[in-house]
């Protein structure tokens, strides 16, 4: 029965497209089929001359696992035994070198050094250091490409996260996913190009907030804004038909709308009218494709177990990792996750334990799941936050408790898949875990590298707005060639 009605609905669509004078195939159809595709923009769009991609891409899709709040590199990946030896001693001025502090610790009398409360070991053939907080991640280090020498310019959350997402500390520029959507267009005809999934961590009740502008299109067309996929009945805002409406009714309604609109088009000759008809068709397809993607009932037990028990609970990080895989399976170009709660100013040991547990298994599962499906080859996975944390305690250092403030000078991220070296660690920090001693990677470098992997020369990919050519990496950024496989 369902088959029959699907057939009927699709037939209707074909009929509709035919009436519009569109065959299947051909440029016009491609853009009408997916209005998220950048081709839909007029031919005089500034994009026309960009010839993207600039070269053969290593990755076709990105999953960006953003760890909001600033995870402590010292508890997770950047092993610093010296901090144990010097526990309680003040951070030497020779190391601090006048580094700006946040207002939260600038008033402290002392800056007592503190090492990780969690044990570190080396794993895999690559002998990468991982702490006991991340046992699942430890098992897959030979798939990962660690960058221990990340650094940023911002020291507070709002500007720092905005900087990572848009290349600028001040709001108003497009998010990295919007840039990719704009430059590379869509790979499928049923889902948005840039999708967003949010989850709240268990590590800190008062998590850092998020802002919808983080996945905003800035000055690019709103076609390129990130579309939030949410748990619950209405996974994309306004997706669900009104109560009681059947799909057949909706189909008939759209056909009537199209018919009446075509009459308008004939009378007024407004090309926008046709474009609008195409938007409605895409919306109609999304109404099926989005719930289909969100419905994980067909996932076998062994996959669910792989991601962990939370994967069955909608809205968790684990559930979102599973969804991320389902989205890239559908060829969604850019999947952006945000996991809140990494801002451990106090009670770090207990908070980070919970927070790491939220993400460890699911992150590892996602990477291995992509790998077993052959998707890791051309999907880039990125894991990391907006800055790192200090090597000294914020607040009192006790036997079992301490906190850490924001630290922009060095922190750790990792990537996997699409064109990066597996089982590789890049960059080094000093024994204090305070300064970078080798191969620094700036936020703009990371962005440039991500773009490079997607086949984009970040210096050439610009958008002219208010008289100026803007790019994700502003006026700087270098591709970190050593990271490329």
């Amino acid at each position: 029965m369902e088959e029959i009605s699907k057939h009927f609905l699709n037939n209707n669509r074909r009929h509709f497209l035919k009436k519009l004078g569109l065959g299947i195939g051909g440029l016009a159809t491609a853009s009408l089929l997916n209005p998220f595709s950048s081709i839909v923009e007029s031919s005089d769009s500034p994009l026309a001359g960009l010839n993207l991609p600039h070269f053969a891409p290593k990755a076709k899709r990105v999953i960006y696992l953003f760890q909001s709040g600033g995870p402590s590199q010292l508890e997770l990946f950047d092993y610093k035994p010296l901090l144990h030896k010097m526990r309680g001693q003040d951070l030497p001025d020779s190391i601090r070198q006048g580094q700006r502090l946040t207002g939260m610790t600038s008033g402290q009398d002392s800056f007592p050094l503190v090492g990780s409360q969690f044990k570190f070991n080396q794993y895999g053939e690559s002998r990468a250091w991982v702490s006991d907080l991340m046992p699942f991640t430890a098992k897959i280090v030979d798939e990962l490409c660690f960058i221990k020498s990340m650094h940023t310019e911002a020291i507070n959350h709002d500007p720092a996260i905005t900087f990572f997402q848009t290349g600028s500390q001040q709001a108003g520029r497009p998010s990295i996913g919007s840039w990719m959507s704009y430059g590379l267009g869509s790979l499928n005809e049923n889902l948005p190009t840039f999708t967003v999934l949010l989850s709240r961590g268990t590590g800190r009740a008062m998590a850092q907030p998020l802002y919808s502008r983080l996945w905003g299109n800035g000055f690019l067309s709103s076609l390129h804004q990130g579309v939030q996929f949410r748990s619950g009945k209405d996974p994309v805002l306004y997706l669900k038909d009104p109560e009681g409406m059947t799909r057949l009714e909706r189909r008939k309604m759209l056909d009537h709308i199209a018919e009446l609109n075509e009459k308008q088009e004939r009378e007024f000759g407004d090309p926008e009218t046709n474009s609008r008809i195409a938007q409605y068709e895409m919306a109609y397809r999304m109404q099926t494709s989005v719930p289909d993607t969100m419905n994980i009932e067909d996932e076998p037990d062994h996959i669910m177990q792989m991601y962990g028990a939370n994967a069955a609970i909608p809205g968790t990080y684990a559930a979102n990792c599973l969804l991320a895989r389902r989205l890239v399976e559908q060829d969604v170009r850019f999947v952006q996750l945000y996991h809140m709660g990494w801002d451990q100013h106090d009670n770090l040991p207990s908070h980070i334990t919970k927070q790491a547990k939220d993400v460890d298994q699911a992150t590892a599962a996602l990477i291995m799941d992509l790998k077993q499906r052959g998707l890791l080859e051309d999907t880039l996975v990125v894991w990391g936050g907006e800055f790192g944390r200090t090597n000294y305690s914020q607040g009192a250092l006790t036997k079992t408790n301490y906190g850490r403030d924001h630290h922009p000078r060095c922190f750790t991220m990792f990537m996997a898949g699409g064109g990066v070296k597996p089982g590789f660690t890049y960059g080094e920090t000093d024994d204090f875990g305070y300064n970078i001693t080798k191969d620094p990677v700036h936020v703009h470098d990371l962005q440039a590298t991500m773009m490079h992997l997607m086949g984009i020369d970040h210096t050439k990919f610009t958008h002219k707005h208010q008289g100026r050519r803007f790019r994700l990496t502003d006026v700087s950024g270098h591709v970190v060639k050593d990271l490329l496989s």
Binding site: L239, E243, K252, D270, Y280
Partner: protein
């Protein structure tokens, strides 16, 4: 200075072109570039093809856009990055002698062989070619031809149009059917040049819908449409316009535009994004427009109301304009860094909205394209740097400087504030120069703690010198803005009004009148309007009336394929643009058509329908943690009153291209996306409006279904549907009704008030669906 080898007589340059051709062939082996003798010089009427080289090259229209976009980056106003000492942004610089021996010239008027520019732009060698390969900038063949031809024709220089004082031009001597047809005469002259003519007048239904939305943001009622249709008098349309300009809704429409400019919001915008109260300022804006306070006063009060001698409370309140910027409460930020951000924001807002300049580009270095030095930027910044304000506010704090408004004061003086009885007093932010002696320095690379030279209050000299006659404060700045010699203020203002009425400004980039901005499509008209606006005392209502009274405005939007081909963006106005409703209008149209709209002016912002959980899922647990929907009247207020939380703005409004209000914005995008379709199809507000309108029709037992459909159609689109359209809709209605299945419709719950009506549920369902269908027609979301 100028070196002339040839006198640039026409004869000689005809000779010169083939000569150059030979030169090119010698110089480069590429066959693609420039067979000048082949350039077909066509009649101006086919200029639509941008690739046709114009007969007479104009510096402003043809040459400077190329120089600015491709050359200024290294040969422009920014001294810090200027290469080879060569600059093309000034006349002296462009014709100056170059090289150690000062024996070479980039430009030799009339002499393409001697002009280094020609050699460099046509160079084949990678090391010689300009712009350099690694700049990612390059010239098209067309652009190269333009530059070469311009030099051949004598390389005549002109100053940037926007920095030349507008002179009121003569009205073109051309016949217009419209007796007050000044605007039309300018438009007609251009159309004639292009070989085009005006389109026929739009139908009365289209016209009244268009003017209602443009002037009030609301659709006309059926009664208003009928009255207008029946009125065959000469002044029928003028009567409509006068009524609209006198209506309260006019101020609301104008305010909706100004709120974007002023980056108005109900929250502070950073991180925890706490609530702020600025709506009394918004009420003032509405009232100011309705009272038609002249634009110069309107601006002066907002910029410097507090500095006016014996300033009134109203004038002080108006300065809230420049406190609408975002303010952070994030723990740990450095106070001075953010205080600096706020001053920068004011500087950028004023320059963008009032001067049409992208001054923010001169924050870190001299402007790359426009004559604005970093020093001038910080001189401008100095005006807004005298507040005793904090960079980081505390939770629960109302940032200084602020004023307290009491209920009594509202009753006595500030009568335009719609203060609910439940509120006795409230504090809101205003401007006050409590630190008049704070010094301002150039901030190197724009960094808040990297002081350079000290600067005093000043302006970009290229616009108009800031002489001693102006006070060295914001009041003086206002006087400077409205000095009759200021080249920008009036142009920028009328251009924004034009954009409101015609969809695109005469200068399409309404935020950028600089070298990188668009050139005016009708420069004389722009200047005529600017000067007229000033002469008439900055009378905004009068100016808008003039625009909508024009024949140009009243054309049909019908576009023939030929016209679409020749003028796809409708630059020349041989038709009206088929403009889409704004985010506010789309929802307000639904509220008005269904009769749900609550016609109430001002007051605290309201929280209508919004999908559940949007605030909760991103909050830190501080501030506005949960969206608590209002009840009753507040659900149905006009959209400009919808509570604006900057970090999570109302999603349906953003989907329809509303500005984010993070910073000043003077134009909105116009996009068409699948998410917009989803809002129109499924937003509970639209569904409720459909049901309410459907029930209203069904309750009237005297109506036939056809009549009901006609009324619904008219209320939503302002047009009477044709019989064939009604037939189609009847078919849909009957089909929906006859296939109605009680089991499937279990979840379709009628509103309480309709349950007791003696109307079958399936009738209401079918009519609701039909009404929703009509809301989704293309015609329902365009102006007319």
């Amino acid at each position: 200075m100028k070196k002339k080898k040839f006198k640039s007589t026409p004869l000689i340059w005809y000779f010169l072109v083939p000569f150059l051709l030979v030169l090119c062939y010698k110089y480069i082996s590429s066959s693609r570039v420039n067979d000048y003798s082949d350039v077909e010089i066509k009649d101006a009427s086919v200029l639509a093809s941008e690739e046709t080289i114009p007969e007479k090259i104009d510096y402003i229209f043809h040459v400077k856009p190329i120089l600015s976009d491709r050359c200024y980056l290294c040969h422009g106003p920014d001294e810090g990055t200027r290469e080879a000492g060569l600059r093309f942004d000034t006349k002296d610089g462009a014709y100056a002698a170059l090289g150690e021996n000062k024996d070479r010239f980039a430009l030799v008027p009339g002499d393409t062989t001697a002009s280094q520019m020609v050699h460099r732009i046509l160079a084949k060698e990678e090391s010689k070619i300009m712009p350099p390969i690694n700049s990612n900038l390059s010239l098209t063949d067309y652009e190269k031809q333009i530059l070469v031809k311009w030099i051949g024709q004598g390389a005549v220089w002109k100053d940037h149009w926007a920095f030349v004082k507008p002179k009121k031009p003569e009205i073109p001597n051309i016949f217009s059917e419209n007796k007050n047809g000044e605007i039309d005469k300018f438009i007609l002259r251009k159309l004639k040049e292009k070989g085009l003519s005006m389109s026929e007048k739009a139908s009365k239904e289209k016209l009244i819908r268009r003017v209602y939305f443009d002037l009030t943001g609301l659709p006309p009622s059926i009664e208003a449409i009928d009255t207008f249709i029946k009125d065959n008098g000469e002044n029928a349309f003028e009567t409509v316009i006068d009524n609209l300009l006198a209506s309260k809704a006019y101020g609301e429409r104008m305010a909706a535009i100004w709120l974007d400019v002023a980056r108005y919001s109900d929250t502070h915008g950073y991180q925890d994004d706490l609530e702020r109260i600025m709506w009394p300022w918004r009420d003032w804006v509405i009232s100011a427009f309705n009272r038609n306070i002249p634009y110069d006063q309107f601006v002066k009060w907002q910029l410097a109301g507090d500095l006016i001698p014996n300033a009134t409370r109203e004038q002080i309140l108006a300065t809230g304009f420049n406190r609408n910027h975002k303010i952070t409460q994030e723990g740990g930020v450095i106070d001075e860094e953010y205080r600096n951000e706020y001053v920068l924001d004011r500087t950028n807002t004023v320059s963008k909205s009032l001067l049409g300049l992208t001054m923010e580009c001169a924050q870190c270095h001299d402007h790359k394209y426009d004559p604005i030095s970093q020093k001038e930027y910080f001189s401008f910044y100095a005006f807004f740097n005298k507040l005793d304000e904090k960079g980081r506010m505390d939770y629960g704090e109302i940032p200084e400087p602020n004023i307290r408004i009491t209920q009594q004061e509202v009753k006595d003086v500030l009568t335009f504030i719609n203060m609910p009885d439940s509120i006795n007093e409230l504090d809101l932010m205003v401007m006050k120069d409590s630190k008049p002696n704070r010094k301002t320095y150039i901030l190197k690379r724009g960094a808040y703690d990297n002081f350079g030279e000290e600067v005093k209050e000043g302006v970009p000299q290229a616009v108009l010198s800031f002489t001693d006659k102006y006070q060295k404060n914001r009041l003086g700045l206002s006087d400077w803005l409205f000095d009759e010699d200021n080249t920008l203020t009036a142009r920028v203002a009328v251009n924004r009004l034009w954009q409101q009425i015609f969809g695109i400004g005469i200068v399409a980039t309404s935020s950028d009148f600089g070298n990188q901005g668009a050139l005016p499509s009708h420069p004389e008209l722009l200047d005529w309007l600017a000067e007229t606006y000033r002469e008439e005392g900055w009378d905004t209502k009068k100016m808008l009336k003039r625009m909508v009274m024009s024949q140009t405005y009243q054309q049909t939007t019908k576009a023939t394929p030929e016209l679409l081909e020749i003028d796809p963006t409708n630059k020349w106005l041989a038709r009206s643009s088929r403009e889409k409703l704004t985010a506010e209008m789309i929802r307000d149209n639904a509220l008005a058509a269904s009769g749900l709209l609550v016609d109430k002016l001002g007051g605290p912002s309201v929280k209508p329908y919004q999908p559940k959980g949007l605030w909760a899922e991103t909050t830190s647990g501080q501030g506005l943690t949960e969206y608590i929907m209002d009840k009753g009247e507040n659900l149905y207020r006009r959209s400009l009153y919808t509570f604006w939380k900057r970090t999570v703005p109302p999603p349906a409004m953003l989907t329809f291209d509303a500005a984010t209000r993070d910073f000043c914005s003077v134009e909105r995008q116009k996009t068409s996306t699948p998410l917009q379709a989803l809002v129109m199809l499924n937003d509970p507000q639209l569904i409720e409006a459909s049901e309410v309108l459907a029930a209203k029709m069904l309750k009237d037992e005297n109506l036939s279904d056809k009549e009901r459909i006609k009324i619904i159609f008219r209320r939503i689109t302002s047009r009477t549907p044709e019989d064939s359209e009604v037939e189609k809709l009847i078919t849909f209605l009957k089909d929906t009704e006859s296939n109605y299945n009680e089991i499937e419709k279990e979840d379709f719950k009628l509103k309480q008030e309709y349950q007791d009506l003696n109307i079958p549920k399936k009738r209401i369902y079918a009519f609701t669906t039909l009404t929703s269908l009509i809301f989704n027609l293309d015609e329902a979301i365009v102006k007319g």
